[in-house]
Symmetry: C2
Subunit: 192 residues, 2 copies
C-alpha cells in the first residue's frame, strides 16, 4: 500500500516516468525504502486505473518512448488523505546482520569480528554517498532534508556502535584475535 502512495507523492511534485521514479526513490529515500520495477510499473497502472494519475506517451528521437505520468486532482485528494491519515505501523529495523549477530555466541570466535568489519566497511561507503546526496537537498524540501539527515545520523550511530561492539567482542574472546584484524578503529572519533 505504501509504495503506491510513495509513487503518488513523487508525482505530486513533478510528472515522471517509471524509470525516473526508481531513480528518485534511490536518491531521495533509498535509506528508508526500496522499490523495483516489479512494483513500480504495476503501481503506475493501478493508479491510472483508479484515476489518480494520467499517462501520456512521449516519443523521443534517440531513446525508447517514455510514459509520462501526472497526478490528477483526485490523485491530490487521495494523497492528502493518506498524509492526514494514521500511521500504519511501528517500524522494525529488520537487519539480517543484526539478527545473525545475536547468535554469534554459538559460532566461531572470529566469525563475529569478520562480520563486524564487513559491516563497518559497508556503512562507511554508504555514509560518504549520503553526505554527498544531502548537499543536493540543502535548500530544497524541508522534510526530505530532515529525513536525509536522519539517514546520516543513523549511519554514524551504527558505526559508533559497531566500533564499541568490536572492542567488547575482541576483549571477550581472548586478546589474540584483537590484533588479527585491524586495531580497534578510530572510526568512532570521526563521529564526535
Amino acid at each position: 500500500v505504501s509504495i503506491k502512495f510513495a509513487v503518488l507523492g513523487l508525482l505530486g511534485r513533478k510528472e515522471l516516468h517509471g524509470y525516473a521514479i526508481k531513480q528518485r526513490i534511490e536518491r531521495d529515500f533509498g535509506h528508508l525504502w526500496t522499490a523495483n520495477y516489479g512494483q513500480i510499473y504495476p503501481a503506475l497502472r493501478a493508479l491510472e486505473a483508479e484515476g489518480l494519475v494520467t499517462m501520456v506517451e512521449q516519443a523521443q528521437p534517440r531513446s525508447p518512448t517514455r510514459k509520462l505520468y501526472s497526478i490528477t486532482p483526485r490523485g491530490r485528494t487521495a494523497l492528502r488523505r493518506w498524509l492526514n491519515g494514521p500511521t500504519a505501523k511501528r517500524p522494525v529495523l529488520r537487519d539480517p546482520f543484526l539478527l545473525r549477530f545475536t547468535f554469534f555466541s554459538q559460532g566461531d570466535a572470529d566469525a563475529a569480528l569478520r562480520a563486524i568489519d564487513e559491516q563497518v566497511a559497508m556503512y562507511k561507503a554508504q555514509l560518504r554517498g549520503r553526505r554527498e546526496a544531502l548537499i543536493g537537498w540543502r535548500r530544497k524540501d524541508l522534510y526530505v532534508r530532515l529525513a536525509s539527515e536522519l539517514g546520516i545520523e543513523l549511519n554514524a550511530m551504527m558505526l559508533a556502535w559497531l566500533a564499541r561492539a568490536r572492542a567488547e567482542v575482541a576483549a571477550a574472546e581472548g586478546s589474540a584475535d584483537a590484533d588479527a584484524a585491524p586495531p580497534v578503529r578510530r572510526a568512532r572519533g570521526g563521529r564526535r
Copy 2:
C-alpha cells in the same frame, strides 16, 4: 530464509516449543525482527523435515500439549555455517512514518506536527519497555546485550531527531502552530 535460522538459533540455546519461540523473539529482538505463528510453525516443520531439529510431544496436566523441539548435531552444523557465511543484504529502515514524512510538504500544515507527536509518544513508551528488558540481559549473552543496547540507542536517537524535526517544522509553518501542541519538549535534554 532468515526466520528459519533465527528459530534454529533459539533452539541452539535451549529446547523450546512454538509458542515460547514467539515470546522469545518479541522479548529478545522485537526491535530488529518480528515473527508470527504463520511463519514459526511452518518453519519448525521444515527444520524437522530437514533433520535439523527433532520434536517430542509433551503432555501437560492442565494445559494443551506442547511440541518440544531440540536442535540436532546436523542442526548445529547448519547454524554454524549460517553464522560463518556472508551477510545477506544491507538493511533499510522501512518505516512507513518516515516515508510519509518526506511528502508532508504536500499535506496540511499541522498534519506533520500531529504525526510527529504521535511518533514521539510511541517511541517514549517503547524506550521504557526496552530499558526494562535490558536489565534481564545484563549478565547474559554478550551479543544479545549489545543488540539490545543498540535498540535503545536507536530509540533515543529517533526521539532526538523527532524533537529537532518538530522544531524546524513548527518554525517553518508560522509560529501560530508552534504552541498549539505542547511546547517543544525537553525530551532531547534527556539524551545528552
